[in-house]
Subunit: 203 residues, 2 copies
């Protein structure tokens, strides 16, 4: 039975309940009003946690957003396992399509991406989140290698970037329509490219 330090986030403890309340309130405020309008006062009101506590622990609205974006890495998300590389990539991209195009869901991920343009700490948090997602997605490629769908030296994260990149490009850069038919087409292309050795490093 270890003695806990003050502020340790013991699951179910009061400190952890406070953290969850504050960070989820931060995400809700972020989704509702965006990063530029986020204030500690609004998060205090929504969470029911006194703003003195919030300032002491997170310092500022920027600190809140960085910590709240970190929540994304604490979930139980696992990469899909459909039996083929193309199927796994289609499922993975399909989740992104749902998340970024559903009017009821898109506010939060869109605000997260926007926040990273406005705050270096939010950008760092987003980087950490995607590094974690890349690591959890790599199994899709190691299974493809085991099935003989991809050369042994395939760079798994490069495959994930090749799949996600054109989807996010359409969403946020070229601003084109994105739906399940687009994600399935990208998955098909990347599976063909992977099989052809396109993501085996040159050296």
């Amino acid at each position: 039975m270890a003695t806990e330090l003050p502020g340790t986030t013991r699951p179910g403890g009061r400190t952890e309940r406070t953290r969850q309340a504050v960070l989820h309130a931060t995400l809700a405020e972020l989704a509702a009003h965006g990063y530029a309008a986020l204030t500690v006062d609004a998060v205090a009101e929504r969470s029911g946690i006194h703003k003195t506590t919030i300032y002491r622990r997170w310092g500022s609205a920027e600190g809140l957003v960085a910590a709240a974006l970190g929540l994304g890495s604490e979930d139980e998300w696992e990469a899909p396992d459909t039996g083929s590389l193309r199927g796994d990539l289609a499922a993975l991209l399909g989740e992104l399509v749902d998340y970024f195009t559903d009017p009821a869901l898109l506010a939060l991920p869109t605000a997260s991406v926007t926040a990273a343009f406005l705050s270096e700490r939010a950008a760092d948090a987003l980087r950490d989140f995607y590094r974690d997602r890349h690591a959890r997605s790599a199994v899709v490629v190691s299974r493809a290698i085991a099935r003989g769908e991809a050369p042994a030296r395939t760079d798994a994260v490069e495959v994930i970037r090749a799949a996600c990149g054109p989807l996010f490009y359409r969403l946020f850069i070229s601003r084109e329509v994105v739906d399940r038919s687009v994600s399935e087409e990208i998955a098909r292309s990347v599976a063909i490219a992977t099989g052809a050795g396109a993501y085996v490093p040159a050296s």
Copy 2:
């Protein structure tokens, strides 16, 4: 000698000079302070054009940004022609790397992408800009087809998205380091994938 309508943008005419002054001042303000802080007053001061004229013609700061982003489609940009698909894609992506990572240049393209999150009209303008860039880049793929580097039915714009997507993904979503070695690696991958028929439509 056609009679011009009032407000016609005759090259070199006074109306056109006013337009250029106002829209370039808008881009400068956008780069300096970002979309959220852009005001008609600031653009009037920087351009030396009276704000009444600006309001009459562009309506609002949002209208200014949309029109200014449209300037991007008026340039003389042509896709690179290096003699190979891989070389053309590397040159094309290399330009993007320079533009989005040079501290002296990156403010404007970054502000443009951010503006599209905050304004539907800016998003429309960005969509038009990339549609134009896609059309001008397609020649890279038609030349590759002519050289026998790509199957005849290759979807040219899909190749461009597959090249640009992972670069923008690193820049703005996963927030990873981007440099010329990254763009060369992406170009190599997409050239291999193209040769393997990854961007030939399924049906």
